[in-house]
Amino acid sequence: MTVANPAPALIAAPPLGRRVWRVVRLNLVNKWTVIWIPAMIMFFIGLVNWLIWWIIWAATSPADRADAMDGTQWSGGAFYIFVYMLVVGIQVITGTFPFALGYSTTRRDFALGSGLTFLMLAAGYAVGFTLLSAIEEWTNGWGLGGHLFTSVYFDGESLGGRLFTVFATMLFFFAVGAFSAALFMRWRMNGILAAGAVFILLVVGAIALITLTQSWPAVGDWFAANGPLGVSAWLLLPTAVAAIAGYAVLGRATPRS
């Protein structure tokens, strides 16, 4: 039976947890972008590194080998994954945000869901990274004494320490990427330029302050004293600031075509 012009039955909004979780799922719906492709690139970087180690290993006399392989301590090969996550942070805001709003998601639910996505991805990658560093130690540098996941930035730490360092650093990159993209979403290019100008002035100001008070040695001491673990713990502070500011900026942003 049809009734003339019946009122469409309204749908009750699901509870906050479910609304946030569906944003997480949306962010991860294409596993290629956030998981498989970065993992494949990481594997390729590992492979190329290993081949180079092998060349060094084969070209040096057995007496010098340990010394030569020590140089790989300064490898930045694994750094790529953090830059990749910066880009993921940007794309979540520039690509997924306009789309999620089209799906009638509130900005608040989107921000919470994306924050949770970043936490999960950072945790996942930190676990993977730490496992690989354990294998690297266990196999004595993949059989050649090389360093990729135990490079100087992560070395000297317990597994737990490495786990935390990677987790915090990755969160930092997500937050910076998402925050910059949120500025763009809210104020377009003007937002990026203004924020860039403010950031540069702050950096120059800090340099001036440190130089004039002759505190550079103190800065060096601070890094040495804190070590990778301490520095990455301190990194949580700008991460939190960027996350909260990003949330506020996104709260009144509207995607424009």
């Binding site: 012009n5 749908i11 909004a13 794309q91 799906y103």
Partner: protein
């Protein structure tokens, strides 16, 4: 099996009052008040840049009003999940994540739209011949529009907006959209707002017509009332002039000794009088009517009397 209509059936789905939206010095929406009734198909018509998209952005909480009130299902829409859960806004300019393929859209849509009908969506994918495994960036304009149409129909949201959903769709696909919309609407009644400038194509679908121009509401009427609100009188110039002398003339045309004049609504006695005078009466299409009323060049003189 029919349930008694809920008392909410009288409550408007959308109620906008005194709404203004400015972008800098530009006023996109200018003191607009409009009501949309539940369970009907509304046409939101107007020229390019008239403010159609901005009005829908405001109603769906995607943009923020400068002034005025918006109520959707009785509540403010911005950042309100209770309202937004019931809203689907398909816009011509919808952006998709860089790496998305249509299959990602179809996979994630049911998480957000509780009424999603996956089987129906699949049927529509076939009918619109939408390739599922191609990057959205690589799709043609028509295929991109097809994604919007499919999501808009299969989501069955109680309040669905289609903002010029047909761009790049060929005539067959457009007709398919109109057919499916009407079929699905009668099976699953909901409030639909269709923004378009292909007025004649959708004239038969519309139950209510809202015309917006330069940010103001120009017309807000029942489609049926509108259809009978004007008639074209055709015949020998002298007889036509005689007949229309005391009436509101909307438009005048003529070739040689023949005149064709559009006048405002005629009563039954008017009609028999016209017939007696040997004049021919023809209905005015919605499109003609709206063009007549929104084209300042033509109506400026007659309307400002």
């Amino acid at each position: 099996m029919s349930a008694a209509p809920a008392p909410t059936s009288i409550a408007p789905a959308v109620q906008v009052s005194g709404l203004t939206k400015r972008f800098g010095s530009f006023t996109a929406i200018d003191d607009v008040s409009v009501t949309m009734k539940p369970g009907r198909i509304h046409g939101l018509l107007g020229r390019n840049g008239a403010g159609k998209t901005t009005l829908m952005q405001l109603i769906t909480g995607q943009d923020f009003a400068t002034q005025g009130d918006i109520h959707v299902f009785g509540e403010k829409p911005t950042e309100n999940p209770r309202v937004l859960q019931n809203v689907c806004f398909i816009k011509e300019s919808q952006r998709y994540p860089e790496d998305f393929q249509p299959k990602h859209v179809l996979r994630s849509a049911p998480w957000f739209f509780e009424n999603w009908d996956a089987e129906y969506a699949e049927q529509l994918v076939d009918e619109f011949r939408l390739p599922l495994n191609r990057r959205i960036k690589k799709l043609s304009r028509g295929q991109l529009s097809a994604i919007g149409v499919i999501v808009g129909l299969a989501s069955r949201a109680p309040l669905t907006f289609f903002d010029e959903p047909y761009l790049g769709l060929d005539a067959v696909a457009r007709q398919l959209f109109y057919d499916r919309l009407l079929e699905d609407f009668s099976e699953h009644p909901r409030t639909v707002v269709l923004s378009t400038h292909l007025i004649d194509e959708v004239a038969n679908l519309l139950e209510h017509v809202i015309v917006i121009d330069q940010g103001r509401i120009l017309m807000d009427e029942d489609a049926e009332t509108l259809r009978t609100s004007a008639t074209t009188v055709v015949g020998p110039r002298g007889a036509v002039d005689e007949f229309v002398r005391a009436r509101e003339v909307l438009h005048r045309d003529g070739v040689g000794g023949l005149a064709s004049v559009t006048v405002a609504g005629l009563s039954a006695s008017d009609r028999s009088q016209a017939a007696a005078a040997g004049l021919e009466l023809a209905p005015v299409s919605l499109q003609q009517l709206i063009v007549r009323k929104t084209d300042v060049r033509e109506t400026g003189i007659e309307q400002t009397a």
